[in-house]
Subunit: 337 residues, 2 copies
Amino acid sequence: MDLGAVILAGGRGTRFWPLSRRARPKQVLDLTGEGSLLSRTLGRLEGIVRHDARLVVTGPDMVEVVRPECGGATVVVEPSARNTLPAIALGTWAAGRAGADTVVVLPSDHHVARPEALRAAIVEASRVAHGGALVTLGITPNRAETGFGWIEPGEGGRVARFVEKPPQTVADALYAGGRHLWNAGIFVFRVEALRAALVRHCPGTAAAWAAWEAGDPVEAAWAHTEATSLDYGVLEKHDEVRVVALDCGWSDVGAWSALDEVLPARTWGAGVCKEMVEIDARHNLVHADGKLVALVGVDDLIVVDTPDAVLVARRSDAQRLREVLDALDARGLGRYT
Amino acid sequence: MDLGAVILAGGRGTRFWPLSRRARPKQVLDLTGEGSLLSRTLGRLEGIVRHDARLVVTGPDMVEVVRPECGGATVVVEPSARNTLPAIALGTWAAGRAGADTVVVLPSDHHVARPEALRAAIVEASRVAHGGALVTLGITPNRAETGFGWIEPGEGGRVARFVEKPPQTVADALYAGGRHLWNAGIFVFRVEALRAALVRHCPGTAAAWAAWEAGDPVEAAWAHTEATSLDYGVLEKHDEVRVVALDCGWSDVGAWSALDEVLPARTWGAGVCKEMVEIDARHNLVHADGKLVALVGVDDLIVVDTPDAVLVARRSDAQRLREVLDALDARGLGRYT
């Protein structure tokens, strides 16, 4: 078995504004002072995926900002963003050309506290995938999260069903039941197994694959790919989908308020800065690269400093950054977004 | 009558940290976007004090940072900080040499909303001082402030007594009485009247004055001056002290929390920055020169951004910056103070 990796790095995301911008998406941010999320994602593959079988898929306008974070990996340019299915197909096709017979698909902007657990699960999933199944890694949940899809494991490692982002009462029940797992967008399958599944469920994408194989430019057939996710387009329809459980301290780092999930535990404020002084201040998250940050009498704040913008937000309002960006656009201040 | 001005610009002040530093005291800060407090203090003298009779007294290590804010005024260097009396004596002596027979003494770091009222009061005080009295300008109070000294007016414009910073119950009574005024450190007197008062009450400073007059360098006699305030050293002992009431929208701009006293009224956040976006945010004060500031879900904060430090403090904790500076010194981070 020769394992390749397809890293999805086409996302934009506004939830880490003002650090993230149109031109600087979340995956290239260094939120913890230990390197960008993308470079750390690649680093976790050390020892299980050789460098020339690592493919990073991103958009044409993000190549320049993504490439420096790619180490020895190859950047694959998707002509336009069409959800995950076309990107995964393109990346998997490219991994096959690079000699891989099996691939692991990974988001580029997540955090993993215990990479060795992730590697072990990928290796285990590769073994399962050897029989032709499409395998998804299911995260052992630690809360009744409504923001993720859940996976219901069935007999013999099969996926019984996928549960879309559930309402709170459902999430409570799923979490209490102790069997369901989170869908983290990490998949393992044989190149040929994906191709066969596409032929069955997504003929447009299968045709595009055939065109790439025949030497057509990627752009030519791109418009024929199904603009959907792998989950909707393939996994929910396919009969051979398996799940491998994974407990690796995973976080999707979905907003500034999640930052302390990915930082070393501290009683007081946490974040990236040069120095921090706290006087009667608790549970604040900061990002002020190279600066001293002093907090006096404030709790539960997010404080972000960048060369042209400063954000101070209540932690519980971390999801409201969209309102800031809308206000900026409405005032003709799109240069800040 | 030829009126000179002595501007006291020797203060350091930590209450506007991180904008104010050891090397950049409050009086040279532009807190409102309309120029430094010092340059605006000088600007208020337009039309009543000629430029070459304006003396700005400061310390030797602050000359370079103070001078650019002085316009046509002369910088007088006091060899060391010894409270206000020696600085006022030195400045008044220098004003006399510049041809003034009467001087107005002004702090360099206060705010005046209605300069024309200040100018009228200075002219009126000069007339009162013509008879030989030392005149203090008393601010019409707008609250029962415990942080200032108060002046009790007596018969015929005389000062009946000075009240030191009073406890709250006393301040309440003084304010409710409607007669007392705040001591703002603004004085008007004839040069010869101050000299005569020094001879009577402060012989060391009078001797220093005589030495300067005789051509000795300022340093030579400096150690003999009384290291005290004009209030303690002279006014409280002198029999010819008068007060002129002044209602000019005065503020001592004593802390970040006073910033909205000196800024144009706004319902929402206020301060100096390039752009401001507020989402569910109220009564915040910001200083982030040249930057966009976005505030989400936060109230009553002070947010200050400088090239090497960021401060976020609860407004009611504005007086606790001393604790930040102490913590920085204790951690060997004095370069930030």
